[in-house]
């Protein structure tokens, strides 16, 4: 229904602005309805402006800035519609060390109410884990598992 869509839209927009601001330590972001008069058919635009920079097309953002913006959107969705668990496969690949630290901290906060299964190569992300599974290729190209409980 149009009402429910608008309600979800307002929530998602608010959460997205919040999480974006935390991940970028500033800047501005928004979710815009192309045609607010027609909620059930309108297109949806995403706006992202890193701190100190001029607002431009999403495409002009750097690889790391796009990753961080997408992560902000994902986490905003998780706040509006919580799922019991969430699986993330190497979403931190393009982040530099500073952005990675911020991402890992914020993820830890979200993990208080959602189970996260995160596949990663990055040290800072691993350090926030409550449990670590190491996967290796054993003999005969068969995967094996080692479990390390950290907390």
């Amino acid at each position: 229904s149009a009402e429910r869509f608008m309600e979800t839209y307002e929530q998602l927009r608010a959460e997205f602005k919040l999480v974006f601001g935390e991940l970028f330590e500033g800047g501005a972001a928004d979710i815009i309805l192309v045609d607010p008069e027609d909620p059930l058919n309108t297109g949806i635009e995403i706006i992202a402006q890193p701190p100190g920079k001029k607002l431009q097309n999403l495409a002009l953002l750097s690889g790391g800035e796009r990753s961080l913006t997408a992560i902000a959107l994902l986490l905003a969705i998780r706040r509006v519609k919580p799922t019991p668990f969430c699986i993330l496969d190497e979403v931190d690949a393009a982040l530099d060390e500073a952005n990675l630290e911020r991402f890992a901290d914020i993820l830890q906060g979200f993990a208080k109410t959602t189970q996260f299964l995160i596949i990663t190569h990055r040290q800072a992300t691993m350090e926030k884990a409550d449990r670590l599974y190491g996967v290796t290729m054993g003999e005969s190209a068969t995967s094996q598992l080692i479990s390390v409980k950290l907390s």
């Binding site: 309600e7 496969d89 996967v135 068969t142």
Partner: protein, 165 residues
Amino acid sequence: MRLKRLELIGFKSFANKVTLEFDEGITAIVGPNGSGKSNISDAVRWVLGEQSIKSLRGSKLEDVIFAGSDGKKPLGMAEVQLTLENSDGFLPIDYNEVTITRRVYRSGESDFLINKTPCRLKDIQDLFTDTGLGREGYAIIGQGQIDAILSTNPEERRSLFEETA
């Protein structure tokens, strides 16, 4: 509700059975390239009822069965079991613990079970409708998918919103 346990037997590179136990918070999966990490994510997608082999990086149904290697023969079956803790009634089923089992044989035959009771694929998919764990809920983000989240066209972005509503 939360994930409790995941078991893989013969699923992709997991020729030998592995069991993952889950607690609250963050579980990190680490290891070298090609070791099998993303295969674990594929296993969860598959056992929740994913029908598009393409989104599991395969081209035919039997691609999820251990295909053999230099030192080992191919297996005839792949099985994934997912156990969920459900005492909050998040899943519309009258059990505190729910185990979903999915099996596929080289013949193309499949088995589906909820708490050891045979059922249809549809019954498993129905269990997770409206939970946000379906295809468009963005609860499972695949490798390399993070950039695509921003490049979705207006129609896909709409369906993302509708799934969240």
